[in-house]
């Protein structure tokens, strides 16, 4: 799709016919998706629908078997080495289980977000620049986590750890934030704090945000647009307001919201 890439009106991200197979299971079965810069998109669907695989393909943690993926005219799937690492830096990930390094201090965990920007040898000796530290502290304070900066990551609660993970994502100076079920392990109060933080990133920094959510209610509350997946395919792509009972029935096999939460 190189002709589309050269058109000025082409979207920020364009995925076409992305497939990924694990053994005999099709995780992604021809996913096509366009995302404009600065959008906040919820990706919903049952667990196993391919939501996580989609986000990890966008970050290039895993490579798809087929399809094309263009970002601003660049073939993302062709990136290698330094360019690939820089792509990952631009697509910060936030995980369901936070994926922090438990034994490292919060501040160091956040500064690992700068590793792709720094030369290898000093970073291996644990040397970060003043600027890195300043950026990390600033990101933590912005998320109301300044007081925890010197604690070990495993001393924090789940909600606090997820905010640290968001701070790590922010110091990467990303253009996209990919959040994979960021609130699935959190209680409602912490869920709200984390969703507010992601929403703020989107509004104030103009960062494109893709969030996998199992909660339709959260998707409606925070994201104007929803992409619904089922069995590795996109089955709905439109405004979250358009998630009528009929549409939900098609995505989940039921329109009962409580049943949807249980299934996801």
């Amino acid at each position: 799709m190189t002709d589309a890439a050269t058109t000025p009106s082409s979207p920020f991200l364009r995925l076409e016919g992305i497939t990924k197979t694990y053994g005999s299971a099709r995780a992604l079965d021809g996913v096509s998706l366009e995302v404009a810069a600065g959008e906040m998109v919820a990706v919903i669907g049952r667990s196993g629908a391919g939501k996580s695989t989609l986000l990890t393909v966008i970050n290039r943690l895993i490579d798809p078997d087929g399809g094309s993926f263009i970002c601003e005219g660049r073939d993302v799937l062709a990136l290698r080495g330094r360019n690939l690492r820089d792509w990952r830096r631009q697509c910060a990930m936030v995980f369901q289980r936070f994926n922090l390094v438990a034994r490292l201090p919060v501040l160091t965990n956040v500064m690992t977000g700068r590793l792709a920007l720094r030369p290898l040898i000093p970073s291996l000796f644990g040397i970060f620049t003043e600027e890195d530290r300043a950026a990390a502290i600033e990101a933590l304070v912005a998320l109301d986590m300044g007081a925890q900066a010197l604690k070990r990551a495993d001393e924090l609660s789940g909600g606090q750890q997820q905010r640290v993970a968001i701070a790590r994502a922010m110091v990467q100076e990303p253009r996209i934030v990919l959040a994979d079920e960021p609130v699935a392990s959190l209680d409602p109060r912490n869920s709200e704090a984390v969703m507010d933080a992601l929403s703020k990133i989107n509004r104030e920094h103009g960062i494109t945000v893709l969030i996998n959510l199992h909660s339709v209610a959260l998707a409606r509350a925070y994201c104007p647009r929803a992409v619904a997946m089922s069995a590795g395919r996109v089955v709905y792509d439109g405004p979250t307001d358009g998630l009528t009972p009929q549409v939900l029935e098609r995505i989940y096999g039921t329109a009962d919201l409580d049943a949807i939460e249980d299934a996801a």
Partner: protein
């Protein structure tokens, strides 16, 4: 439905089979022992007949110590004490340097040799073979080789024990690294960090306490290994011990042996405390 009788019958059959297997294994073991004793010239009669010579040897090693002249007797027993102390110090230094270098290269190689972390399958395979080679060849063989190439002295000992330690620790370390939680590794990888950075920040902090603990354990082993390396000219107290044995200086043998036993026991005690502190702290934090 299975009746009680059927279960009883099945149990009886199973017991018969198990007993048959056990008897077979026992017979095979006895036969194998007899064959290997014959081939290996293990002669129990000879062992019994000559056992007095062993006690004789030990008896000759006991120095003559009288209460009235204890001071001078002890001084005579340990007349070369200062030399032995210096050689004992060199033995420890050999063990320390060898453990340090062995740990250093084992840490660097362990992440390459750990399957889920390895940068490439061929590198993982090659590193595993290297570790295998380094730990399969005994320290004494390496020592002979290095004495031949670099001359008599502690350098050969450091290289020999260091190389063997790298192999032994590399295996343990890579197994520890394989069991590391993949989530933090994935988290750091997703930031765009390069492979060495991912290992340094995602994996190393998780495995550091275990690495340190195994390293200390290896240090205990290396002190013992270093004390015999002198037999082949690779430095340390072993050289003195070997000379004493060769020249039938029985009381010198006991004097050196006592110094060795006491110091090795001390090192073991200290290192065990350190290890428990490291592991204890790590597990406490993990459960917190």
């Amino acid at each position: 439905m299975t009746s009680v009788d059927q279960v009883q019958a099945a149990w009886a059959v199973q017991r018969r089979q198990r007993r048959g297997q056990t008897a077979l294994v026992l017979v095979a073991m006895v036969v194998a022992t007899l064959i290997s004793a014959n081939l290996g010239e293990v002669d129990l009669v000879r062992l019994w007949d000559r056992s007095d010579r062993l006690f004789n040897y030990f008896a000759r090693m006991v120095p003559t110590l009288a209460w009235e002249t204890l001071g001078t007797d002890l001084a005579r027993w340990y007349r070369r004490g200062s030399v032995w102390l210096r050689e004992l110090g060199i033995t420890f230094l050999i063990a320390i340097y060898a453990t340090f270098f062995g740990m250093l290269f084992a840490v660097l190689g362990a992440f390459v040799a750990a399957r889920p972390l390895a940068p490439a399958p061929w590198a993982c395979w090659a590193m595993r073979r290297l570790f295998e080679f380094a730990r399969t060849v005994p320290e004494l063989v390496f020592a002979v080789l290095f004495v031949f190439s670099f001359g008599i002295g502690p350098l050969a000992g450091v290289l020999a024990i260091g190389l063997h330690s790298m192999g032994a620790l590399g295996k343990l370390y890579s197994e520890v690294a394989e069991n590391a939680d993949p989530d933090p590794v994935r988290g750091v990888r997703a930031t765009g960090a390069s492979w060495p950075q991912i290992m340094r920040y995602g994996a190393l902090p998780q495995v550091a306490p275990a690495f340190l603990s195994y390293g200390l354990l290896r240090f205990e082993i290396n002190v013992r290994a270093a004390s015999v390396l002198g037999f082949v000219g690779a430095g340390g107290i072993g050289q003195e011990l070997y000379t004493a044995i060769k020249s039938f200086a029985y009381t010198d043998i006991s004097a050196i042996a006592i110094m060795l036993i006491v110091s090795v026991a001390l090192i073991d005690m200290i290192s065990e405390r350190l290890r428990h502190r490291i592991i204890g702290a790590a597990s406490l934090r993990a459960s917190a």
